[in-house]
């Protein structure tokens, strides 16, 4: 009996129809495709926002829109499965049979995607032997889709979505492989930068087509059944990692609170970010009912692009950071939020800054998660996109220009390490700064300094990362549009650590007047200066517990000033090193407080 059973199993196992090794091979081959396409798009795109800032995402989703693989460089903000959501919209509007081979469908429909209109998804169906196996999709941030300001999404005072540009609710850009010229004319007519945009769209189309061919080739090689099994195995694998992390977390309900400075329209009107998460061995429940109501200004997002995106990003950071993103990462995640919150706004709401609030919400969710899984907890990071966009005409060439930038700042300390810096927000990934030398040769300003801000990291046993200061000298008339936040609610520390210094934008006019603002736009002229400062990260643990050696090192490297060392860490320095007695006295006073 035993012998027979073994023999049977052995024979089965030696050559089962689709064995675990084949699944593994398919998994690697599928995972490689979006990364190959990503490199190609980066090379062929026209606008810096795509090739330099990498504001795009490439992936393959199954026939009902579940994410199978996504490029690794894709911004975290897109793991909400913007690609799959776009496909689900198409399936509802057109139905699978009306999406033909060779079609390229595009959409930026806020009712579905819930993100600013610049985010346009293009996708094409992949069929093998007549059977639909999924869609290859490429999301690209279109450089300008009309609206009230160049760049469309950067306006900070819009009050409905129609002020923000062109809506493209599931349209076929190519039909059975043929371009529809009328759509290209429509797009060209509705953008301020047609040459850039049409170049990017070409890259987007060819990304879909090349991805389609590569998926088809792999499927043809291994067979449909093998591909389907591999996809299920990929989802199961991701879920396995989440489950293992959950097993180490303490079950229970955890809450965290933060707030946004205002809604961009009414200064001082705070917006609540109250988070509750409940963890069990089987489920992660993220309850976002405590988010403030939909705002009058553009700091809204729809449910998919807002609430679900934020919850998924936080989940991914905490529970399965090491593996490529797919739908299995979120199998155990449930998100609750009623309609009408700022991350579940109605389709007519202004959503230009749809992503801007996400880093704060993610920070807050991570704060709640961190209470359940302290080994992976971190203090808050600088927490904003910190959009600062210049536009105008270049006095040297007379050409229209626009440069959208975001800040890099300090990240939060963990139990074992100081916060790293400077990096962009947790909604960004592999998004490099545009070099100062490139900016100066394209845009009418000079960057006179770009440096770390000493004493900006939240104090703590482990210190928060430092924020950054950039100093712009303006050389010609232009406009500066900014969207900053986290001043009223600076990047918090945890376990007794201090908060990071908040971000700020300050204008120094040629006539000597100064003005600070955090949202809105200002006209600038030659001779004006703009100071753009990002926040530091929060600290971890009480500052008095930081070793004197570490404080001394921070002073030597200029991360902490001598005054800061004494004030915040109780480390008193004399000309020849540490004043031991004064330090002991100061530290003992601090501990007893």
């Amino acid at each position: 009996m035993t012998t027979l059973a073994t023999r049977t199993t052995g024979a089965m196992a030696a050559r089962p129809p689709i064995d675990s090794i084949t699944l593994e091979i398919i998994r690697h081959q599928l995972a490689a495709i979006p990364n190959q396409i990503e490199r190609n798009i980066e090379r062929t795109a026209f606008s810096p926002l795509v090739y330099e800032y990498k504001d795009y995402s490439v992936g393959f989703v199954d026939p009902v829109g579940r994410l199978v693989v996504q490029s690794r460089g894709s911004l975290p903000i897109f793991v909400a499965n913007a690609l799959g959501t776009a496909v689900r919209e198409g399936l509802e509007v057109l139905g699978p049979d009306q999406i033909h081979d060779g079609d390229i469908v595009i959409t930026n429909n806020p009712a579905w995607l819930g993100q600013h209109l610049n985010n346009v998804v293009a996708y094409t169906p992949v069929r093998v032997e007549g059977e639909l196996i999924g869609f290859f999709a490429v999301l690209v941030h279109w450089v300008d889709v009309g609206g009230s300001v160049p760049g469309s999404c950067v306006a900070s005072n819009t009050t409905d979505v129609w002020q923000e540009g062109l809506q493209l609710p599931t349209l076929k850009l190519l039909e059975r492989g043929r371009k529809r010229p009328e759509l290209f004319r429509l797009i060209a007519a509705n953008t301020r930068f047609p040459a850039f945009l049409l170049g990017d769209v070409e890259a987007q189309i060819s990304g879909c087509q090349t991805g389609h061919d590569l998926v088809q080739e792999i499927t043809a090689r291994h067979g449909l059944e093998a591909i389907k099994s591999a996809i299920v195995a990929m989802w199961d694998g991701a879920d396995h990692a989440v489950k293992a992390a959950l097993a180490r977390a303490r079950p229970g309900t955890y809450i965290a609170r933060a707030e946004l400075d205002d809604d961009g329209v009414t200064p001082g009107r705070r917006v609540a970010v109250d988070i509750s998460v409940t963890l069990s061995a089987e489920e992660i429940l993220v309850d976002l009912s405590g988010l403030g109501p939909q705002t009058a200004g553009p700091f809204n997002a729809g449910r998919n692009g807002g609430a679900i995106a934020a919850a998924r990003i936080a989940c991914k950071y905490l529970f399965s950071p090491d593996t490529p993103v797919n739908d299995g990462d979120f199998r155990r995640l449930r998100v609750e939020i009623p309609d009408g919150r700022f991350l579940s706004a109605s389709p007519d709401a202004a959503i230009g800054h749809s992503g801007s609030t996400v880093p704060t919400v993610v920070d807050a969710i991570l704060n709640a998660f961190g209470q359940a899984l302290p080994e992976r907890a971190a203090a808050a990071h600088h927490g904003i996109y910190g959009i600062h966009a210049f536009d105008g005409r270049n006095p040297e060439t007379g050409e229209r220009f626009q440069h959208l930038d975001t800040v890099t700042g300090g990240w939060g300390a963990t139990a074992v390490a100081d916060g790293p810096s400077p990096y962009r927000s947790n909604g960004h990934g592999d998004v490099p700064d545009v070099p100062v030398e490139m900016q100066e040769s394209f845009f009418p300003y000079r960057i006179e300094a770009k440096r770390l801000r000493p004493d900006s990291g939240g104090v703590g046993r482990c210190r928060g990362g430092l924020g950054v200061e950039k100093v712009y000298r303006i050389l010609g008339d232009c406009r500066l549009v900014v969207g900053f936040d986290r001043v009223a609610c600076p990047p918090w520390g945890v376990h007794g650590g201090g908060a990071g210094l908040p971000a700020s934008v300050e204008i120094l006019r040629a006539n000597g007047t100064r003005e600070s603002f955090s949202k809105g736009e200002r006209r600038l002229s030659a001779g004006d200066f703009a100071y753009v400062r990002s926040g530091g990260g929060g600290g971890f643990g009480p500052a008095v517990e930081r070793s004197v050696e570490d404080v001394l090192r921070d002073v030597r490297l200029g991360y902490v000033s001598r005054e800061g060392a004494e004030r915040d860490y109780g480390v008193v320095l004399s000309d020849d090193g540490i004043d031991e007695a004064a330090t002991a006295a100061r530290r003992s006073t601090m501990s007893s407080r």
């Binding site: 090794i21 190959q36 490199r39 090491d322 992976r376 490099p432």
Partner: protein, 688 residues
């Protein structure tokens, strides 16, 4: 003076190739790299080849010294001098997080610490105009501080210096004067391209390895002189050309990556001789596999290399062969992950302890063990039998550590898993090859695969089948091909300058005078470095459509006209992107001049192995597992040394030689070409 000598110091082995110009023979030497004394390793290897240094015309040397110093952080204590306001240019990097969901992500720490970063007032604008003159008294104060800090090397990097290097040149001179014995370098000495972070990290890296390389080269020369060698020593540059020791001592960062260079030069030489205009050079060693495109006999050079990898490392702007490298080599370890899935690499057993089959204490099964277990590598024929392999140990480990936990049983199950290990390695390697072709818009099926390194010939046939490639070429001496290729290297000097002008008749004026200036400089340098006046020049330009960042590098021929430059750009653009941007304005961004100086080198026809017997070779037979048939086939095993030019056979077959094993699949055909190369044709019908 009869010998031409190339010595390649690699991570594991030091390889030597010695060409005897009197009898046309080439001899090879191999020793374990001696990390304590790299020069000694070279001299020992030379001893093996029985060549006398006193009889050598020249010595070419490639070394991993520079990259090792950077990776192991064993370089000098460095200071950086920047424009006021930019002290943090290196530490801040570019704000990106290439591993997006790692909450504590951080880059490797910079080579220069913040307390040794100094600012001086000076400013140049984006057109090269001086806005603020260099503050020399402030610089002198900085020099004082640097002296007090016991710094061994200083890097200078100023904003917009790519447009005007006057301030950097001046600062370099002042610091060199005030800081005798300190190695001083500047960003624009190494790169005239824009991007302040990249130029600064390059200058810092050059300073970091500068003192060390200076000593190394001086020591090497002295030791060669002791052996009564009185010819020139040349260093192998990452750009594929050799350079004088004087240049290498000023610009050691140009020696950054020597490993794959020799092989690609060799591949280029064979490609030209055999009339193969499109090749993928594929090199597989113990820890990694590397591939590069070789088109019309030459390979692309890219200007940015990430030391420590893109994700956490830092960029260096120096011309480096354009290559994609992945962590799949013979020593890559196969393992089962937490979720019970079979994985291969990136960890490698390297050469110590090495694969289990090598009997040096390895316990984890590797790619090589899988090859041994499947009969693809003969246990008694590896290194001509000098290293008997432990077939049973390899099979047992695959059975116990991999097959059993995965639920595969019996001999068939072990074969299946061993083949799975190879398949996963192949997936990684084909991924690299696809990346280098797809990214550049090439059709992979137009290329032949040129395989070398200890592992390349084993996988050539399988890679070709996976990729739809029809021809695999294995050169003579595949395992020592890197040093052989180095023998073929010419002297090469590259100069480049950012120009930023549009393609127009007026712009062409600027281009012509730019090329003239660069040519004059290159010509002077070549005469000074190599004592030769007869350099030939190659002209290239990085061009782009206005607004697009990525440039296309195109070859330009004299006379430089607007029409010919447009044609060259459009051809290059179309090859890469498949389309043109009609009506788009075209810009020049960078001009490049390469000066080539001929250096004595062997003829490829001299490298054809001599085959003694004329009788038809008689193969032995062995059971070899082939994935294409999902089982074992009785397979003829040939010694490569017994196969004459013109020999042909149908697959399956295995061809063994000292340094490598070549696998010929069941549907393939093998032929020995006129330069002694093995040509494996893989029929389209067998493409999966």
């Amino acid at each position: 003076m009869r010998y031409l000598i190339a010595a390649d110091t690699g991570g594991t082995f030091t390889d030597l190739a010695v060409h005897d110009t009197q009898n046309g023979q080439t001899h090879f030497g191999k020793t374990l790299t001696n990390y304590g004394d790299l020069v000694a390793g070279v001299l020992e290897g030379l001893f093996d080849t029985s060549a006398e240094l006193s009889e050598a015309r020249l010595v070419k040397h490639g070394t991993t010294h520079v990259i090792n110093a950077l990776i192991q952080r064993s370089g000098a204590r460095v200071a950086l001098v920047t424009t006021e306001g930019f002290r943090d240019v290196v530490e801040m990097a570019r704000g990106n997080r290439p591993i997006p969901f790692e909450i504590g992500f951080r880059r490797n720490p910079p080579l220069v610490e913040r307390s040794l970063c100094f600012e001086v007032p000076e400013r140049i604008d984006h057109n090269g105009a001086v806005l603020l003159p260099l503050d020399e008294p402030a610089l002198e104060t900085v020099a004082e501080a640097i002296r007090a800090a016991n710094v061994e090397a200083v890097a200078v990097s100023f904003i917009n210096a790519y447009r005007n290097s006057d301030h950097e040149d001046r600062a370099e001179a002042v610091l060199a004067r005030l800081l005798p014995g300190v190695f001083v370098t500047s960003g624009t000495r190494l790169s005239r391209e824009w991007s302040e972070f990249e130029r600064a990290t390059t200058a810092v890296a050059n300073a970091y390895v500068g003192t060390n390389m200076d000593r190394y080269i001086a020591d090497f020369v002295a030791r060669l002189r002791e052996q009564r060698f009185d010819g020139p020593l040349y260093m192998m540059g990452s750009n594929g050309g050799i350079m004088s020791t004087a240049q290498a001592r000023r610009q050691p960062i140009a020696l950054l990556e020597s490993g794959p260079i020799g092989g690609c030069i060799g591949a280029g030489a064979y490609a030209t001789a055999l009339g193969l205009d499109r090749l993928i050079a594929f090199d597989m060693g113990g820890t990694t596999a590397k591939c590069a495109l070789v088109e019309d006999g030459s390979f692309d050079v890219q200007s940015t290399y990430y030391v420590g990898g893109y994700e956490r490392g830092f960029p260096v702007r120096t011309p480096v062969l354009d290559i994609v490298e992945v962590g799949a080599g013979g020593g890559s370890i196969a393992w089962i992950d937490a979720q019970g899935r079979l994985r291969v690499g990136p960890r490698s057993a390297g050469s110590d302890p090495g694969p289990i089959a090598f009997r040096r204490g390895g316990v984890e099964p590797t790619v090589t063990d899988a090859n041994v277990a499947l009969g693809r590598i003969g246990p008694d024929s590896f290194m001509n039998g000098r290293l008997p392999l432990d077939l049973d140990g390899a099979r047992d480990a695959i059975r116990d550590r991999l097959a059993a936990p995965l639920g595969f049983e019996g001999e068939g199950g072990t074969d299946r898993v061993a083949q799975g290990v190879l398949d996963l390695a192949v997936v990684t390697m084909t991924g690299a090859i696809k990346e280098i072709t797809i990214e550049r818009g090439r059709d992979i099926r137009d290329y032949a695969l040129f395989v070398f390194g200890g592992g390349g010939p084993i996988f050539g046939s399988e890679l070709a089948r996976e990729l739809g490639i029809g021809l695999v070429v294995v050169p003579p001496q595949p395992g020592a091909f890197s040093s052989l290729g180095m023998l073929m290297a010419e002297a090469r000097l590259d100069l480049a300058r950012t120009i930023l002008t549009r393609l127009s008749d007026a712009g062409m004026e600027e281009v012509r005078s730019g090329f003239e200036a660069l040519t004059a400089e290159a010509s002077d340098n070549a005469a000074a470095e190599f004592g030769v006046a007869g350099a030939t020049f190659e002209y290239e330009a990085d061009m782009r459509y206005r607004g697009q960042k990525h440039t296309v590098r195109v070859r330009l021929e004299q006379p430089f006209t607007t029409a010919s430059a447009r044609r060259a750009f459009e051809a290059g653009y179309k090859a890469r992107y498949g389309r043109l941007n009609d009506g788009g304005e075209i810009d020049f961004v960078v001009l490049r001049v390469g000066a080539l100086v001929p250096i004595p080198r062997p003829n490829l026809s001299d490298l054809v192995p001599e085959v003694g017997a004329t009788a038809a070779p008689v193969p032995r037979l062995r059971q070899v597992h082939f994935e294409a048939v999902g089982g074992r086939l009785v397979t003829p095993i040939y010694r490569r040394a017994e196969l004459p030019v013109g020999f042909a056979a149908e697959g399956p077959a295995v061809i063994e030689e000292y340094s490598a094993t070549t696998i010929v699949g069941p549907l393939d055909r093998i032929e020995v070409g006129r330069l002694g190369e093995l040509r494996i044709t893989c029929p389209a019908a067998s493409r999966r």
